[in-house]
Each structure stands twice: as structure tokens, then as C-alpha cells.
């Protein structure tokens, strides 16, 4: 595709989407409502994100975000896509989390797929910082950082408590299935890996430590998917890997070193202490989590980080998506391997 055609196509997409959204905000907020300032924010392979404002007849301006499924076929090798959910389900999870008392953007309406758009959901565009390396470093977040680990624990306890019968259909990944899934991914690469095999062995010997609750899991609960303002946690974002699983997997994941942005002394997302995370989890009604159970899920998280790195690299190596960035991430798999080998015995 030449640059001209690509640009033209983007323009057509943007114009079509403007028409779709104008019609939709009219239905939701009443006739005379229109949209303004539509811009594409990012394009992962698994979704599109757009920013726009709804302009109400009384002059009010509502800052909004649209996330929709890609218009084109999804690459089945994309790491996120394997476990990913559709946008309708993602928006629904965000609504349920908010109802459960989790700081999360409001989701005022959805888009149905038709001949002009793929399915999507619209959420409030909240003020705050989502860039992990700024959250761990900038002076303006000093006070927020002091509370953030506790608040992350509390928020997780709340979305883990959402009754299962309220949830939309989700992939069920209890711990044994999650281990099988990841081991299967590595096996498919045809590159046996002693370090990760040790992790699988170690984890399978300790399945009783994992705990036996099955709840909604965020699936990518980490610094980078949190919106933070001066008061602390302002929103839990990016629910696209939501699934049913062991809730403590979310707590282990937020502790792995990949999200500390160099601030290694703060195990929780580079901003907080494990004790605060667990205190918050207990205060939010999640019960007391033992350090042994957390360690189990940290080891699992390190393994999972390694598998994600390899998955991205093999998308390049197997020719699905040639990219110097993706292939280079393959060399970061050893970060997960190194860290988990320090945690196991």
C-alpha cells in the first residue's frame, strides 16, 4: 500500500467514524449533540483507540474515548489476541468494575458492528497519568505513590468480588489450565527452555499454594494500565485480557520487575510495598493473602512475561510480522527467567 492510499484510507475511516459517532451521541444525549476533535490515539493489532468530545446542545463538552475492534482481520499470532476479549465484553467489565467501587472510567454507550464500523465501547476520558515511567519518577506523584499500592490492592479485591453470575461469558483459566496454556505456547516454538521448565515444574508441585478461588481477573493488572492523579489511583484501564481465573494472579503480575521502570526497591509497580498491596487487598474484602501464595503468582508472572516476550519474537521469526522491535523483545524473556530463578527454591 502506498503512503497516499494509506492516508486516503485513514481519512475515509475517520470521516465514516465521525458520521457513526454523530448519530450515536444524538441517540444517547439527545438531538443536537455532535462530536468534535476525533483523533486516532493508537492502533494495537487487536484494537483501535480514538479520542473525541461530545458537544451537548447546552454547551457542555464530554471528553470521551472510543475503543473498537480492528476493521481488518486480526493476526492470530498476536500475543494479546490469543486471550483477548471483544470490545463489548471489555466495556461491560469496565462498567461492572465501576459498579463494584473500582475507580474506572464510566462507559456511557457501545457501538454495534454494522457495515460502517466494528463493535466498540465508549468511555469517559479521565484526567491523569498512565505512563508507568512518569508515575514512578515524577515529583507531582509523590503523594499518590505513598497510597497507590494500598489502593491497587483494594481495587483488586473489589473487582475480584464481582459475583460470577453478573459477568459476561469469559475464558476460564484456572491455574492448571493457565500453566498448560503457557507450556503449550513454549512447546509450539520448538525451542526447549530449561529455565522455564524449572518454573513449570516448581509451580505444578505447589498448586495448592495458588489458592482455589475463581473470580474475574483483570489479566494485565500492572503499572501502565493504571490511571494515576495527585490523589492516587484514578482508574483501572485496559480490561481486554479479562478472564476467569485465580485472583491472586493479578497481584503477582503487578509485582513483576518489568513494571518497575528501574525502581526495583518498590516491588509493586515501581511505586509501592508488598505489605501495602496486601493490606489494601484485605481492607477491600479480599482476605489476607500469604506471602507464599503471592510468591507463587510472582513466579507465574515472571514465566508469563517470558512467554509473552517469546511470543512477540516468534511473530517475527515465523514471518507473521517482521519487526526489529518484536524480535528484540525476544531477548527480554531472560528477564522473567532470571527473576523467577531468584524467587524459587
Amino acid at each position: 500500500m502506498t503512503a497516499d492510499i494509506a492516508e486516503n484510507r485513514a481519512e475515509v475511516q475517520s470521516r465514516t467514524l465521525t458520521a457513526v459517532l454523530n448519530a450515536r451521541v444524538g441517540q444517547v444525549y439527545g438531538p443536537g449533540t455532535g462530536i468534535d476533535g476525533l483523533v486516532r490515539l493508537s492502533g494495537g493489532a487487536s484494537r483501535e483507540t480514538w479520542s473525541f468530545d461530545a458537544l451537548l446542545p447546552d454547551g457542555r463538552r464530554l471528553p470521551l474515548i472510543l475503543k473498537r475492534d480492528p476493521l481488518d482481520e486480526i493476526d492470530p499470532g498476536d500475543a494479546d489476541v490469543n486471550l483477548g476479549i471483544d470490545r463489548w465484553t471489555e466495556g461491560r467489565l469496565m462498567q461492572l468494575a465501576r459498579e463494584a467501587g473500582v475507580p474506572a472510567p464510566e462507559v456511557p454507550f457501545f457501538l454495534d458492528a454494522d457495515d460502517r464500523t466494528s463493535a466498540g465501547f465508549v468511555s469517559q476520558r479521565l484526567e491523569g497519568e498512565a505512563l508507568g515511567r512518569r508515575i514512578v519518577r515524577e515529583d507531582e506523584f509523590t503523594q499518590a505513590r505513598a497510597k497507590l499500592a494500598f489502593q491497587c490492592g483494594e481495587a483488586a479485591a473489589r473487582f475480584h468480588a464481582i459475583p460470577l453470575d453478573k459477568l459476561p461469558p469469559l475464558r476460564n483459566l484456572p491455574v492448571a489450565a493457565a500453566l498448560d496454556y503457557n507450556q503449550g505456547v513454549i512447546d509450539a516454538f520448538g525451542q526447549p527452555h530449561a529455565g522455564f521448565e524449572y518454573a513449570f515444574r516448581w509451580l505444578r508441585e505447589r498448586l495448592e499454594l495458588a489458592g482455589d478461588r475463581l473470580t474475574l481477573c483483570h489479566g494485565d493488572y500492572r503499572n501502565g494500565n493504571l490511571l494515576v492523579d495527585h490523589a492516587g489511583l484514578a482508574g483501572v484501564l485496559d480490561w481486554e485480557l479479562g478472564h476467569l481465573g485465580n485472583p491472586i494472579s493479578d497481584l503477582g503480575w503487578i509485582c513483576i520487575r518489568a513494571w518497575r521502570y528501574g525502581y526495583y526497591d518498590n516491588p509493586v509497580g515501581g511505586f509501592g510495598a508488598v505489605e501495602d498491596l496486601l493490606d489494601g487487598y484485605e481492607a477491600g474484602g479480599g482476605g489476607r493473602v500469604s506471602l507464599e501464595t503471592l510468591r507463587f503468582w510472582e513466579v507465574f508472572g515472571c514465566m508469563r512475561w517470558g512467554v509473552i516476550c517469546m511470543t512477540l519474537a516468534f511473530a517475527h521469526l515465523e514471518g507473521r510480522e517482521r519487526s526489529v522491535e518484536k524480535v528484540s523483545i525476544g531477548r527480554r524473556a531472560v528477564e522473567g527467567e532470571y527473576d523467577l530463578l531468584q524467587l524459587v527454591d
Partner: protein, 120 residues
């Protein structure tokens, strides 16, 4: 491999310097980011050329001791992975873990030596 200069390491170094000094400053956005990624990838190649041989030798020695068999690095690592999965290494946990930790530390030293140094 030819022994004539420039040798492989010198060629890779030249390409890395070209990307750092001449491409990086003249591009922005995604292209600048991917240039940094490419520079890092070449730095991994340079470190591997300099240190990888000695690391391989030490790793192979450890593998021979652990597995009581012979083979090249790839075969031995595959054999170790299979043995761990089959539970055949369960009675030499301490030696196995020591080996895996040393191997991972070497791999980190090649892939991203700064990983072990906190910035905070």
C-alpha cells in the same frame, strides 16, 4: 570466517555507530524509537561476540556434569529441558538451580546488563 579486518565485531560496531550518530538524530517518533531498538540489538550482538564463547564453554561444562552425557549446547539444553519436565532432575535440585541461575545471569549480561542496576 575471514580473519581480515574489519572483523565481524568491527562491522557491527560501525553499523551501530552509524545508526546512533547519523540516523538517530535525523528521525523522530516511531522511526527514532525503532532506531534505538536496532542500536540495542547490535549492542547485544557485540557483547555476544566478545563474551559469548567463554559463556558457552562454561555452560557446556556444567551441562555435561549435570546430565552425564555429551553433545552440543543446543542438544544438551533440549535434553535438560526434557529431563526437568520428566522429573529426572528432582534429586539434584541445588546443582540444577545453581546452573540455571548462572546461565540466566550470563544471558542477562548479554541482553541487558543494566537490568541488574536499579535506577530509582
Amino acid at each position: 570466517m575471514p580473519t581480515d579486518r574489519p572483523n565481524v565485531a568491527e562491522l557491527v560496531e560501525a553499523v551501530r555507530e552509524f545508526l546512533t550518530d547519523h540516523v538517530g538524530p535525523n528521525v523522530e517518533g516511531q522511526l527514532a524509537f525503532h532506531t534505538r531498538v536496532a542500536v540495542n540489538a547490535l549492542a547485544i550482538v557485540e557483547r555476544t561476540l566478545a563474551q559469548g564463547g567463554a559463556m558457552d564453554e562454561a555452560e557446556l561444562l556444567r551441562l555435561k556434569e549435570l546430565l552425564h552425557q555429551d553433545g552440543n549446547l543446543e542438544e544438551m539444553n533440549a535434553a535438560l529441558a526434557r529431563a526437568i519436565r520428566a522429573g529426572e532432575m528432582d534429586d539434584q535440585r541445588a546443582e540444577l538451580l545453581a546452573h540455571l541461575r548462572l546461565t540466566a545471569a550470563d544471558k542477562i549480561a548479554l541482553a541487558n546488563p543494566r537490568y541488574l542496576t536499579p535506577r530509582g
